[in-house]
């Protein structure tokens, strides 16, 4: 589903070259739930932005759902982001001027979907995250946990092949974090491929597989699946 080989990302200034990712290799299979961990500045977020086609990379190869993406132009990358990827951001990134319904609708409009189908999908996605009754509310009228659920609904509405989550519980209190995590696990059980960046080892432990990044490289690839072994610890944290 997501395969990076010998991928590198270099930030260049006139005097210095900084490798954000170096000889980076990862292979995420369809249906996997992978947690990407690492200390601050290790390259987790760079990996996620490249995986999500939000940024280009400097060298190596990246195949997403069988497509080599390095040569794609901006429009093609936008189309892949829209159709194949669902984003869940730490700061939720809902559009404050739009209500819940309109927020979930944003990616569907960019896909050019017809109104009736959009409505069906939006309501299904909102039902799925338990917020159908809040469709007319604005983000500012919702709690952090509810906002993140809306963001998840927005990510799910387009039926993406891959969900990318960037510290999805980073801005939430423990109880809300647990709810969001359970929702992600539930979505994973239904067959979604999820790649989640987190610096929280407890959250990471709830993923199927952990990928650890230090200094822009994958240093420890645990092949052992660890299914939901630590739910209780998150709840207690």
């Amino acid at each position: 589903m997501l395969k990076m080989t010998h991928l590198s990302k270099v930030y260049r200034t006139e005097v210095v070259e900084t490798y954000a990712l170096r000889d980076f290799n990862i292979d995420v299979k369809e249906g996997e739930f992978v947690a990407v961990t690492g200390p601050s500045g290790s390259g987790k977020t760079t990996f996620l932005t490249i995986a999500g086609l939000l940024e280009t990379f400097t060298g190596g190869h990246y195949h997403l759902d069988g497509i080599e993406v390095s040569q794609l132009n901006d429009n093609a990358r936008s189309k892949i982001r829209n159709e194949k990827i669902g984003f869940i951001f730490q700061a939720f990134n809902l559009i404050p001027d739009l209500n819940v319904y309109d927020n979930v609708e944003v990616p569907l409009r960019y896909r050019g979907m017809k109104g009736a189908e959009r409505k069906q999908r939006i309501m299904d996605a909102l039902e799925r995250v338990g917020l159908a009754s809040r469709a007319k509310h604005y983000p500012a009228e919702l709690s952090g946990g509810q906002q993140q659920r809306v963001a998840i609904a927005r990510a799910l509405a387009g039926s993406p092949r891959l969900l990318l989550a960037d510290e999805p519980t980073g801005n939430l209190d423990t109880q809300m974090a647990r709810g969001v995590m359970e929702l992600l696990e539930e979505i994973h059980r239904e067959g979604a491929t999820i790649v989640m960046v987190t610096h929280d080892p407890e959250l990471a432990s709830r993923a199927q597989r952990n990928v650890h990044i230090i200094d822009g490289q994958v240093v420890d690839l645990s092949e052992e699946p660890r299914f939901h072994a630590h739910n209780a610890r998150v709840a207690d944290a």
Binding site: L54, R81, F87, F89, D97, L98, N99, Y110, R111
Partner: protein, 410 residues
């Protein structure tokens, strides 16, 4: 098109939106009315007077020195005219009390009966002799010119009502709309009738005021030489191509005959100068209105650029999120263009109402003409294009916000 979400978002930014809508509306209302007035002013600047403007010049002759008797003045005027007519560059010369576009002059009520209380019309009065038609270069379309023996004189404080007059076609048609005016009488503030013996095609009045536009071509010529002690005008028509030479030689010839006179350089002159002087204030008004309109348009455009730039800066993260969710650059561009179009449409709708109200007020209070809807249509189009043009640069900037902006913390 993404009209609904754009409208929804605009509802959350009422203050800025309302301000720009009002700005566009006011600009449309003022610019449409200003352009309409400006066009009305400019359109008559180039209307022909009916005289041979390319070759015509006017000498404003004021008598100086010891006051002469009427007979002496008349003798001098006749001598002056002969001298002018004999200049090699001059085709003809005639005396007069005024000339077209002078700004002011004699203006009489005209009626069809001696005891008429309400005049039929209003007409400019030009005095002149049998040379005046040729000197002016006006075209006689019916009847005949004055004969030399019909020319009288008009001294100071004398009242003369000539037996014959020549009128313009406009006046003839006004007095006698059904059938020819030739041979028929008119009464010009007197119980003595004047018979219309000739009709000229076109001869504009002295006035250039808007309120006299309706009478602009209603003139009549009386067969009289003006022998006032103050002075008179000599209407001189140069031969083609010899205007400059004739204008140089004519004053010399007059001063050689009698130096006790002043040729006023601020009055008369070539017809190009006369036209320039006559419409100076109109031209000034037109330029002022043009500048005000241009400044308003620039301020409106600057307002749109400012507000959109502010919104783009404010929504940078949001734009990044939209890009992350699949918006292409052109989707972002079209978002801001659509947003501007909706604001501008609101502005022009309100602006049309304001513009029409303003025009109605000007019609009722100032006697202006009703504005043609073409001005509104042009104004609406201009402001919509201005809005789209003004928003283009900030919208392009917005479209270049990279999708990775979505992951950056503010």
């Amino acid at each position: 098109m993404q009209i609904k979400p754009v409208l929804t978002a605009l509802r959350r930014h009422k203050a800025g939106t309302v301000l720009v809508v009002l700005q566009i509306a006011l600009t449309l209302a003022i610019v449409c009315n200003a352009m309409f007035i400006l066009h009305a002013r400019l359109s008559h600047l180039s209307e022909p007077t009916g005289v041979d403007e390319a070759n015509l010049f006017v000498i404003a002759n004021q008598w100086a020195g010891e006051q002469k008797s009427k007979q002496e003045i008349d003798a001098q005027v006749r001598a002056d005219l002969i001298a002018l007519q004999q200049l090699p560059g001059v085709l003809d010369a005639a005396p007069s009390n005024s000339y077209p576009l002078r700004g002011s002059g004699w203006d009489n009520f005209v009626g069809l009966k001696p005891d008429q209380l309400q005049p039929t019309s209003d007409a400019a009065v030009y005095l002149g002799d049998e040379h005046l038609l040729r000197a002016l270069g006006v075209k006689l379309v019916a009847g005949r010119n004055f004969r030399a023996d019909e020319i009288g004189t008009l001294g100071l404080r004398e009242e003369v009502h000539p037996a014959q007059v020549i009128v313009t076609r406009a006046l003839a048609e006004r007095l006698y709309p059904h059938g020819s005016a030739l041979g028929k009488p008119l009464y010009s503030m007197s119980a003595t009738p004047s018979t219309i013996i000739g009709i000229v095609d076109r001869l504009q009045t002295q006035s250039v005021d808007d309120w006299q536009r309706a009478y602009a071509y209603q003139s009549m010529i009386w067969p009289l030489r003006l022998d006032w002690p103050s002075g008179l005008y000599y209407i001189v028509r140069a031969r083609p191509g010899q205007l400059a030479a004739a204008m140089r030689e004519a004053p010399k010839a007059l001063l050689a005959l009698d130096s006790q006179r002043i040729i006023d350089p601020s009055d008369g002159g070539s017809f190009a100068q006369i036209r320039q002087r006559a419409y100076d204030s109109d031209r000034g008004t037109a330029i002022l209105m043009g500048i005000i309109s241009a400044v308003l348009l620039v301020i409106t455009a600057a307002g749109i650029v400012g507000l959109t730039s502010f919104w783009v800066g404010q929504r940078r993260k949001q734009i990044g999120v939209r890009r992350a969710l699949g918006a292409r650059q052109r989707d972002i561009l079209s978002y801001f263009l659509t947003e501007n179009l909706l604001i501008s449409l609101g502005g022009v709708l309100l602006g049309v109402v304001l513009a029409v109200s303003m025009n109605v007020w000007l019609v009722v209070r100032m006697g202006a003409q009703p504005m043609s809807p073409l001005y509104l249509a042009a104004g609406v189009l201009l402001l919509l294009l201005l809005g789209q043009g003004a928003v283009l640069a900030p919208a392009m900037k917005a479209s270049r916000v990279p999708p990775v902006e979505a992951t950056r913390s503010v």
